[in-house]
């Protein structure tokens, strides 16, 4: 079941070739390795541009991360965890 989280998180990301890719992030004192980025999209909110990434972690747990360019901040938007 998808759950809405909307919590700030710390992310290690790679800026390369004009793109951004989350590599791993910390949530609830746990470091989650991004196994695969399965999709990305972006949304304008006023002058803020928010980049979303759907990623798979361990056990195929599903996360949606968002990077807010105005605030230079990451959020965990939604999750689907195993079990």
């Amino acid at each position: 079941m998808i759950e809405s989280i909307e919590e700030p998180i710390e992310v290690l990301g790679l800026f390369r070739g004009g793109g951004l890719q989350p590599l791993r992030f910390r949530w609830k004192n746990r470091v989650i390795q991004v196994r695969k980025v399965t999709g990305d999209w972006s949304v304008n909110d006023g002058r803020d541009r928010i980049y979303y990434f759907s990623v798979l972690g361990d056990n195929s747990d599903y996360y949606e991360l968002s990077y807010h360019t105005r605030k230079l901040a990451w959020q965990l938007s939604r999750v689907w965890l195993a079990g």
Binding site: T38, G39, W41, D45, G46, R47, L56, W80
Partner: protein
């Protein structure tokens, strides 16, 4: 006169919203997936995966019925931003094949190939588009290739999902003439029932029916019905950069539960008017007519409209009219849906703007501009009218 040879492709993404979700979250793959929201709440199915469709779940069906038919399905909220973005990615691929691309909806588009291209060549282009969409986005689509828009649209539905079908007038007749009239795109249940009263059951019977008889029953649409039954369509593909001006712009909402509280309904109506006004101003349109749509709990739906003295994109002006229309036509019974739209739109500044009658009107315009500027900068949720908020003394 010989018509110029045309080659038109219609691309239809397969179960688009569900497919996008399944591409991003592998837990959804191969499972019945229904995009629309929590089935314990109100709402309708936006898209169902093919696995869910096997249980009879269809777009537009209430979520409650979808749950009844397929309780084991995964129900999720849709994410329009995600789908619009991916739709843009699809169009980006398609536009590499021809500049004449007309987005028809978020998951459909028409593509007109260079003049003189044979349908067989169009099939090759269709194959390339399918391959590129699969490789770059991991999505499938169905494509119809035909000498006109209507046949292309019919062709894309022949084999789904992941189909590629060529249809000319001859193959259209072979394939569709023996079928019931509601197989045709644009012929719904009501039209098919009306055709049956004329003794017309099949597409062939519609195609050969004298046009005068159809005109007598359906007016100008009678001729159009005969044309589509013969696979005739001369309408152009209008590329996105030559887009026809919009005729109306509106918003509607299915309420969480059947609502009969006057204040709550007026609050919803105000929010809808705010959205309509904001969209009009963003797109630089003004409307001449305000339309209110009301759907009762028994699904009976009415629309009422009123013309304005001039043109407006002012949310408050729209709300004043919408409120009168609403209160004048709402009998106080529970409602399922409310909608507001502005129609007979005119693009750009009016030649002569009517002078404000009261100084407060000018002041309000300045305030509206300031609010729009704030929303442009910080997003739509930065502020709203106090009257849009629910008063909770606790």
């Amino acid at each position: 006169m010989e018509m110029a040879r045309r080659c038109i492709l219609h691309i239809d993404m397969d179960a688009f919203f569900a497919a996008v979700e399944a591409t991003m979250n592998e837990r959804y793959k191969g499972k019945p997936l229904i995009v629309g929201g929590d089935p314990s709440r109100r709402g309708v199915v936006s898209t169902a995966s093919y696995e869910a469709r096997r249980f009879g779940v269809r777009s537009g069906m209430s979520l409650a019925e979808a749950y009844y038919r397929c309780p084991q399905a995964i129900f999720i909220e849709g994410n329009p931003h995600k789908y619009v973005y991916i739709s843009g990615q699809v169009l980006r691929i398609v536009k590499t094949k021809s500049p004449r691309v007309e987005p028809y909806s978020i998951d459909e588009a028409f593509i007109e190939m260079d003049g003189g291209m044979a349908l067989e060549e169009g099939m090759e282009t269709g194959r390339e588009i399918k391959d590129e969409i699969r490789a770059q986005l991991s999505l499938t689509c169905s494509i119809g290739v035909a000498p006109n828009r209507y046949l292309a649209k019919m062709a894309s539905g022949v084999k789904k999902p992941d189909g590629l079908t060529m249809l000319d007038a001859d193959s259209f007749r072979r394939l569709f003439w023996t079928k019931p009239t509601d197989t045709l795109f644009g012929v719904g249940e009501k039209t098919a029932a009306a055709l049956r009263t004329l003794g017309i059951e099949t597409v062939r019977e519609l195609a050969v029916c004298p046009v005068n008889r159809l005109r007598a029953a359906f007016g100008v649409n009678g001729e159009a019905l005969k044309q589509i039954a013969n696979g005739i369509d001369c309408s152009p593909v209008t590329p996105y950069y030559e887009e026809a001006p919009q005729k109306s712009l509106g918003h509607e909402i299915t309420l969480d539960h059947d609502e009969e509280d006057r204040e709550s309904l007026l609050r919803t109506l105000l929010s809808l008017c705010e959205e309509v006004g904001r969209d009009l101003r963003k797109e630089d349109y003004r409307g001449r007519i305000v339309v209110v749509k009301i759907r009762f709990s028994d699904f009976k739906t009415i629309t009422r409209q009123r013309a304005l003295n001039g043109l407006t994109n002012d949310s408050e002006g729209i709300f004043r009219i919408a409120r009168e229309l609403f209160l004048g036509n709402w009998p106080g019974t529970p409602l399922r849906l409310i909608g507001v739209s502005a129609a007979e739109l005119v693009h750009g500044e009016p030649k002569e703007e009517e002078p404000a009658l009261f100084e407060t009107e000018d002041r309000r315009k300045i305030a509206v501009r300031a609010v729009d500027a704030l929303k442009d900068r910080f997003g739509e949720s930065i502020l709203c009218k106090a009257a849009q908020m629910r008063y909770d003394p606790a």
